[in-house]
Symmetry: C2
């Protein structure tokens, strides 16, 4: 087997592509949350002066891409590829951002898991010497997601305790073969699992089996256990999905203990009334490119397994009686 494969499905990056820069941006609610002081730029107006939340999301994404580039000595012209995705139909935030950046564009869709799909693919392109630098970015917006997936916020429909609150924000990383920064050393891409969950207000339950599957496959493939990581981060299971995940992972024979943080459950404070927690492409992205990377630079973590989860469905598939499936992609980041 190639030195770039481990077990059945885990990819190894022997050249250790680096996250040479990252940037994060978010709205006021996220600023007031638990991760507020890890976010580079907090905007006071979630509409960014635009007339629609979709246009605002696009601005957040473009802004954060430029912020990430500004932290390097690179311009758009130096970047080989831009990998981006978001929750909007036909990922329009990412494609308009790609238009404005002018960098060759690979559009991806993994719902809220997109940031890790992108970082994994970007690391692969750099590790394999197919690119010198790759820009990876994702975004989401509460107002845009509510009206696309659920109901316009103007209807003021009561939230359920299991509802998750789409994070308004964006995050970007510049991956490179040279320079300083945390290394992406492995990736385990996820399978789509379906446990028959049918309520879009219950996404954590739909994603927990996928997070468990990817984590267990990663442990088996790499012959590692929770003790090998300083932190195991899951992305946006939320407080309810997190409990299910804990049960499932215990049943699989692993004890994560205090090493596990779910970034969805951790995003907001209880008094912020955000249901089961944060979600959206920006949720895991802020967790990984905000919290994890900054704490790595401070020396708190040296090796982190980050697993971003996504609920794969559309309002139409829900209306047609289909269940909500889940996916989870994992990467290992080392300082």
């Amino acid at each position: 087997m190639s030195e770039k494969r481990q077990g059945l499905h885990t990819i190894v990056f022997p050249q250790s592509p680096r996250i040479i820069a990252s940037a994060t941006i978010a709205g006021p609610k996220e600023g007031d949350g638990n991760l507020g002081h890890y976010i580079d730029q907090l905007v006071s107006d979630p509409l960014m002066g635009e007339i629609t939340p979709e246009k605002a999301e696009r601005r957040l994404l473009y802004q954060v891409c430029n912020d990430a580039l500004t932290k390097t000595s690179l311009t758009e012209k130096d970047i080989s590829f831009f990998i981006g995705g978001d929750l909007l139909n036909q990922i329009i935030a990412s494609s308009y951002c790609a238009r404005d950046l002018g960098i060759p564009f690979l559009g991806i869709y993994g719902a809220c898991s997109s940031i890790v799909e992108g970082l994994g693919l970007g690391a692969l392109m750099i590790d394999g010497q197919y690119a010198d630098t790759v820009l990876v970015a994702t975004s989401s917006h509460y107002h845009a997601s509510e009206r696309q997936f659920r109901s316009p916020i103007e209807l003021n429909i009561q939230h359920k305790a299991s509802d998750q609150w789409t994070v308004t924000g964006a995050a970007a990383a510049v991956l490179g073969s040279r320079g300083e920064g945390p290394k992406v050393t492995k990736a385990t891409f996820g399978r789509v699992l379906d446990y028959g969950i049918k309520r879009p207000t219950d996404m954590g339950a739909a994603m927990a089996p996928a997070a468990t599957d990817t984590l267990c496959r990663h442990f088996r493939d790499t012959n590692t256990s929770p003790g090998d990581y300083d932190l195991i981060l899951t992305g946006d299971l939320g407080s309810i999905g997190q409990k299910l995940f804990s049960h499932l992972i215990k049943e699989s024979g692993y004890a994560l203990g205090t090493k596990h943080i779910d970034i969805g459950a951790a995003m907001y404070k209880p008094q912020q009334r955000a249901g089961a927690g944060g979600s959206g492409c920006a949720c895991s992205a802020l967790g990984i490119l905000g919290y994890v990377i900054k704490e790595m630079y401070r020396g708190k973590y040296r090796r982190v397994l980050a697993i971003a989860t996504g609920a794969l469905f559309s309002p139409l598939s829900y209306q047609q009686g289909d269940s909500i499936t889940g996916i989870a992609h994992g990467i290992v980041i080392e300082s």
Copy 2:
């Protein structure tokens, strides 16, 4: 520079990953069209016995993936990754197909250019030894696209001459490092270009600049010219977009002559009243994995440059006054 890069943005695959199997499936209108005898399986009922076109599209995609696997000695368990995308919101055809296949899934979105984005990424994963085998597939469905992007067909709204007809069908390829089959030797991923087109009935015009840009960048990067290829295929510009493309490419100093075929313009016969021609993720996919691959096996073509084009927009971005942007991804396939 790495031996895997040429010029600014073209990727070279020194290990020459192979298309070890491909399969195509389509509906009755496509069967009656010019490519009918290149399509492996024609279904008489575009609804595939399902109650909605979205569920039918999912069945077409799953069927064609299984057909491609059947042509090899491989099963789902032997495939490292499944790369898929489609036009439906949140690419639900691909994600439900991924659930049924059980293969780790990378969701992509490049509108009608998705098949080449997928083949390029899949070839990269195999060339770099990150995977032994990758399944790549895309689908589209006329009924599903009409009601999502334009109007339900039950309204019987008159088509315009510049309208394109979404192909009902799907195509899949198994890429592998070993075995027989045409080789994928290069990929040039596209930039998102915007020429201010605002009518969703005019997608060919929106995509022609991107096709020109990718083709010219490919020629420059690789130091090749039309004479180096037996066929230059563009995917779904349609008859109007094709004319614009011919003008733009001539202005750029290249003469393609009879070497150029646009698969959108070629898909249907004039008496089929399909407006400016075919479109949809299945259009380029049937052209490349049906027509091109079969004619390569027959010896007609030895080196083909296939450029799939996509119009990046959503009904919402159109309603919000945004223009329709275009992208085009290219790969070189050699027998």
